[in-house]
Amino acid sequence: MNTSHQRWLLEQLPQWEREGLLTADAARTLRERNAVDESQPGLAQIVMGALGALLIGTGLIAVIGYNWDDFSRPVRLLFAFLPLLLTQLFSFRVLQRGAASSAWVRETAALLQTLATGACIALVSQIYNLGGEWPDFLFGWFMLSLPLVWVLRSHAVAIFYLIAIAIWSVNQVGHGRPWFDSPLLYPLLLLGLLPYWPGWKNQAALSISVRWAMTISAIFGFCSVAVFVSARGGDSYGYDDQSFLWLWTLTAAAFVLFPLNRNGIEEPTRRKPQVVLGSLWLLGYGVAATFHDVSEDILSGALHALRLPWCCGLLTVLVVFVLLAAARRRWAVLAIASVALLPLLSFPFAQHKDGYDGTLLSWLATLHLAVIGITLIVLEFAGKKGAPRLGALLLSVLIIARMADSHFSLLAKGVAFIGVGVAFLVFNILMSRLLKQKQATLV
């Protein structure tokens, strides 16, 4: 249950007590179980605080952009450092007051100081006519802002940092860059947020907005690493797209299996963006692998990727994550993540003198996805937590994909598509009735 649901519940309790729906003891138990941590900022508070700070900060940058060239250099430098000093004093005061400062004040102070830092660097480079690339400017800016996330626990600055490191990494994809100026730095940059991470010395769970920002940032960051390491050697300036596609898939598997504590596992899937987005990619990849031609490309890409140190690192991380997920009995995510490893199973049997035959991988992918789809449906009917509609959707997509890849006549394909469509609709109606029956039983 998220904070807004808990607040709603706490608001209802007095009325339910008055109406006799709950005893005083039951209401007290519910209050204790659903106590809202008021030190965590509410969404409206964050938005208003961040908006105010953003307006002031961008206003400051716009004033700098005007270029006050009538003033001497020292006066203009004063313009640069004065806002920085004031925001630093404000942040220090907030830090000094500790828990007495409300969450939105903390957010505002951190964001203001971040923007004042950026404005200061921008103004100095304007005064001295410094050139340079904007990614270098961005790098300096987000590195100088990172400690504010740690000490002020600012969600807004954390989101800024996550967006900035993703943009920086994507921009650094280029041939011949040294590792410290390439996307390979991204994992270290993401680790920079570690003290802010959930579970770090019992810190509170991250808000849903930060989770989404972190997942999307990680997608862009790790995908840019995959592209960077897949650069073709020699005089070729291209990238091996088949290799980095498999590296993306291994990354998606690592996302889905990312270790969670007991509370994290019990949260609904929609509050775990890494599972949602990772699963979507893996299932899409799995369906693509059922096509014979695509599976041959996947095999040749995977073979090339296996020679890359980054791929070995990813596989090592995956092995650790698989063991941890198995220990936590996360069978559903393990089943989905295993799609990424199908090419490895196919290698020993797929090699022939002209290259690789994708037939085995294509059938393995079909079988694997079919088993996942059927399991998701059967679990529901066996009284366990399943996802019957997702299972049915997966089976339908699989049948359509196989039919599209087959040599049957158009008439046969058409009849099969109609059959699948009808079956899907009938299943949907059956599931709706089942759900209604369950609800009626509960009432």
């Binding site: 430098l77 830092t117 400690p147 504010l148």
Partner: protein, 183 residues
């Protein structure tokens, strides 16, 4: 009050001051003690969302000779040895991998290398202007695009570093010319 957050905050504050101050120190040194060189250049008027309007400088010399025996590749750092001609304008006479023992030089990045020549990325590429003056600079360039007139970049050079001090036209600061046109 906990000590560790305060220490981290203190370090962050110091870094936030040190980064721009080190830039200021370096560039003030070059402005105060560097040799003044002049370069012919063109300068259209783009826009930077964070730092406002600027003129994108394009020095007329875009490539320099690579002496025999010096192996340069694209993207390498090299030293451009500067020679001032009879007209008072500086040009890059040669490129080397190590700083020359005497004379003025600049640290540059090499571009495409071909036929004993290399394209060079100059270490300065923008001159910031007040947003009222920038459109006037555009007009000036449009009016003078066909004439032989070019503006002069006045650059201070010290130990390979360069700071663009001013732009001028016939010895008059370009900014003053634009201000006079706005009035």
């Amino acid at each position: 009050m906990k000590t560790l957050p305060i220490i981290i905050f203190g370090i962050a504050v110091l870094a936030q001051w040190a980064a721009p101050l080190s830039q200021i120190w370096t560039h003030e040194q070059v402005l105060a003690n560097g040799t003044l060189i002049k370069l012919k250049c063109g300068a259209p008027d783009p826009y930077d969302p964070l730092r406002g309007r600027y003129l994108a400088l394009r020095p007329s010399q875009s490539e320099a000779p690579v002496p025999a025996g010096v192996e340069l590749k694209e993207g390498m750092q090299a030293y451009a040895v500067l020679t001032t001609g009879a007209d008072g304008f500086a040009t890059v006479s040669t490129l080397s991998l190590t700083p020359p023992a005497s004379g003025d030089y600049l640290r540059v990045k090499t571009g495409y290398v071909y036929n004993d020549k290399s394209r060079i990325d100059w270490p300065f590429d923008r001159f910031y202007l007040n947003e009222n003056l920038a459109p006037e600079a555009d007009k000036w360039f449009a009016e003078n695009i066909r004439s032989a007139q070019g503006i002069t970049a006045e650059v201070r050079v010290l130990k390979g570093r360069a700071v663009l001090a001013d732009l001028s036209l016939d010895g008059k600061p370009f900014r003053e010319i634009l201000k006079a046109r706005v009035k």
